[in-house]
């Protein structure tokens, strides 16, 4: 009986491959035939009406590729179906309970699951406050110095980089663009200090596209080296507004939580003048998400006290911190406060530095 059964069942199985809704009974029967064909010595209870497979039977044991694939697809469908049923049941229960239902579970996100970082700054931490009161930015934050920024590039910049520098200069008030004509940075820095610049930005270029930025706080401040990506110039932006005016923008710094993040945040904050001109209604945002810092420049308007409309002007780009150095730019003898070490730091998906 078995032997005669087999060819029949094979044919039917072949036909049913194309059928999206296989009949359970026949499948179970085919499974049985398969097993007996391969002489799997297991005692099973074949439940003809139910699609459940006996526990010792695994799809991977079928030698025939097409059939194995088919059985696997079926298995997947089953699982999906059960999942949907479970969901529906839960939903019904929730509706039935009404107010007494337990609160919805919060889905896990990477931000939720972030590995506990002991360098996260507590708002009331005194040590941090003291440090920040006496670090290189204290002069700026106490209102003593006004930022003056020098923007330059690496050697022989191409069109895109040049335009990016110009647009950056319009976004940052009191910024000047100078061409680098093969000058060594180490010689540029003392000249800048002599002329009262507080910041030096060097945009590094590769294949006609800006891809790196060195941000150096001048008197003797920290130097940060970033990787720049996704640069979008003004004319490539959709639905943008008119050019930014000369008013000093406000600054928004989001999500800089750890000590390192704090120092980087202060680095950015010190780029802009201390008192923004609210008349201009412009805001520059540095938003940190998963160690990527997104820069945006918007013009906002308050439609009423609950709604605000923003319109993007200005260039946008993303930064990723590569290294932070204590003094001014010195690649050989500098003392690095933090360096991105890929193998150590990128290993865990839920661990972030900033």
């Amino acid at each position: 009986m078995d032997i005669t059964e087999v060819p029949v069942s094979e044919d039917s199985k072949g036909k049913k491959k194309k059928n999206k809704k296989p009949k359970m009974k026949s499948k179970a029967g085919n499974g049985e035939a398969e097993k007996k064909q391969q002489e799997v010595v297991v005692v099973e209870n074949m439940e003809k009406s139910e699609p459940a497979f006996p526990p010792s039977f695994s799809v991977s044991e079928i030698k025939n590729k097409q059939r194995r694939h088919f059985m696997f697809m079926k298995l997947k469908q089953e699982k999906r179906k059960q999942k949907m049923q479970l969901k529906k049941k839960k939903k019904k229960e929730r509706e039935a309970l009404g107010d007494k239902a337990p609160p919805k579970e919060v889905p896990k996100t990477i931000e939720n699951q972030r590995v506990y970082d002991e360098t996260v700054v507590d708002p009331e931490d005194e040590e941090v406050a003291f440090d920040e009161g006496t670090d290189e930015f204290s002069a700026y934050f106490n209102g003593l110095t006004n930022p003056k920024v020098l923007i330059t590039t690496s050697d022989r910049p191409r069109g895109r980089t040049v335009r990016f520098c110009e647009q950056l200069a319009t976004v940052i008030p009191n910024a000047h663009v100078y061409y680098r004509r093969g000058l060594a940075l180490k010689r540029v820095i003392p000249q800048c200090i002599a002329r009262d610049f507080t910041y030096l930005i060097v945009i590094n270029e590769d294949r006609k596209v800006p891809n790196g930025m060195v941000l150096c706080h001048l008197p003797d401040g920290p130097t940060a080296h970033f990787k720049v990506s996704s640069v979008r110039l003004r004319k490539e932006m959709k639905r943008r507004g008119k050019d930014p005016t000369e008013h000093s923008p406000e600054v928004i710094l989001n999500n800089f939580t750890t000590r390192l993040g704090h120092s980087i945040g202060r680095l950015f904050a010190a780029l802009f003048p201390q008192d923004p001109q609210f008349v201009g209604r412009q805001v520059a945002t540095f938003h940190n998400q998963r160690d990527f810092i997104f820069f945006r420049f918007h013009r906002y308007i308050f439609k009423n006290e609950k709604r605000v409309g923003i319109q993007e002007l200005g260039p946008r780009f993303t930064l990723k911190l590569r290294s932070l150095q204590k003094g001014t730019f010195d690649s050989k003898f500098g003392e690095y406060e933090w360096v991105l070490k890929r193998h150590e730091m990128d290993a865990c998906r839920r661990k972030f530095q900033l």
Binding site: T109, I110, E111, D155, G182, A184, S229, S230, R239, G241, K242, E250, I252, N254, F278, V279, R281, V283, T285, H287, Q289, R290, D291, F292, F294, R296, H298, Y300, I301, F302, K303, N304, E305, K306, R307, V308, G309, I310, Q311, T318, K320, R342
Partner: protein
């Protein structure tokens, strides 16, 4: 016995020489001992028994002289003399070693020596200047980072974050007195108390505002480069009733909505979504300011259009 002419005849003219590189205009000799680098009867190191060159090794120049008696031992055929680092002294050394040698070889040796010293000097100068360090990028890592960046961008929800932050700042009062939005709770209380008086006031002003509204709307539908605020769409779709807190009564809302519908319809026929909503919002904003800030109205308008 070395028959130079025979050798030259064979390798130079007729048959094959493995060191020869021919181009359209000239032939070059790739032999490392060649003094000029060209393939000539007088510069061929194989076809001349009396031959000398200058070569440099790690910044040191040597004078190589061919000793034809040792032609049977090619490894020992070339004699090496170390030249001094001083340019003039080295030239004298060349002269004294190549005394009685043909003029051509002496001259060419000195020329070659000069050229070598010049390029050594340039090399030393370049090292002192800035050197470009090439940092190789790993493709896999770059790909991964790009994807992470995209995901981070989506997770960041930048627009929402910025708006939230701005509203926070407004609430905390960092903007001081620039924006005269009355505080929520205060206004609610006011409304409850003075409902009737407010109605009267607003009914009086309705006609003016209606007229004003209509004018505004028509103008802006004609202009095509409106759309100051692209978030109009999103924000407008939420209930209009939220905006009531400050001013309008429901009757006026309805009128507004009708106006919006008209303008929407007009604009949809003409162009697209944002102009209509832009005009709607602008009209609404103007409406707000007519209510409260009549003094500053022209200023704000000019700011909007500038």
């Amino acid at each position: 016995m070395q028959h130079d002419d025979v050798i030259w005849d064979i390798i130079g003219n007729q048959q094959f020489c493995s060191f020869k590189v021919k181009t359209k205009s000239q032939g070059f000799c790739r032999n490392e001992y060649n003094i000029t680098g060209l393939c000539n009867r007088s510069s061929c190191p194989l076809a001349n028994s009396q031959y000398a060159t200058i070569r440099e090794e790690k910044g040191q120049c040597f004078l190589y002289m061919k000793v034809i008696e040792r032609a049977a031992f090619p490894a020992k055929m070339w004699e090496k003399v170390k030249l001094s680092k001083n340019y003039e002294k080295a030239l004298e050394q060349i002269d004294e070693n190549l005394i009685y040698w043909p003029r051509f070889i002496r001259h060419k040796c000195k020329q070659r020596f000069t050229k070598i010293t010049q390029y050594l000097i340039r090399m030393r100068k370049l090292v002192l200047k800035r050197q470009r360090k090439l940092v190789p990028l790993s493709r896999k890592v770059e790909r991964r980072e790009k994807r992470k960046e995209e995901k981070a961008l989506i997770a960041a929800q930048l627009d929402n974050a910025i708006e939230k932050e701005l509203l926070e700042r407004l609430k905390q009062g960092t903007y001081g007195d620039i924006y005269n939005f009355p505080v929520h709770a205060f206004d609610r209380a006011l409304e409850q108390q003075d409902e009737e008086s407010e109605e009267e006031e607003e009914e009086e002003e309705e006609d003016d505002e209606d007229v004003g509204k209509r004018e505004f709307v028509e103008e802006e539908v004609e202009e095509s480069d409106l759309s100051d605020f692209e978030d109009m769409n999103k924000l407008r779709t939420s209930s209009d009733e939220e905006q009531d807190d400050e001013e309008e009564e429901s009757s006026e809302e309805e009128e507004e909505e009708e106006m919006e519908m008209e303008t929407k319809a007009k604009a949809l026929r003409s162009k697209g979504k944002s102009p209509a909503n832009g005009s709607v919002a602008r009209k609404k904003r103007a409406y707000v300011e007519i209510e409260y800030e009549q003094e500053t109205e022209p200023a704000t308008k000019s700011r909007a259009t500038s």
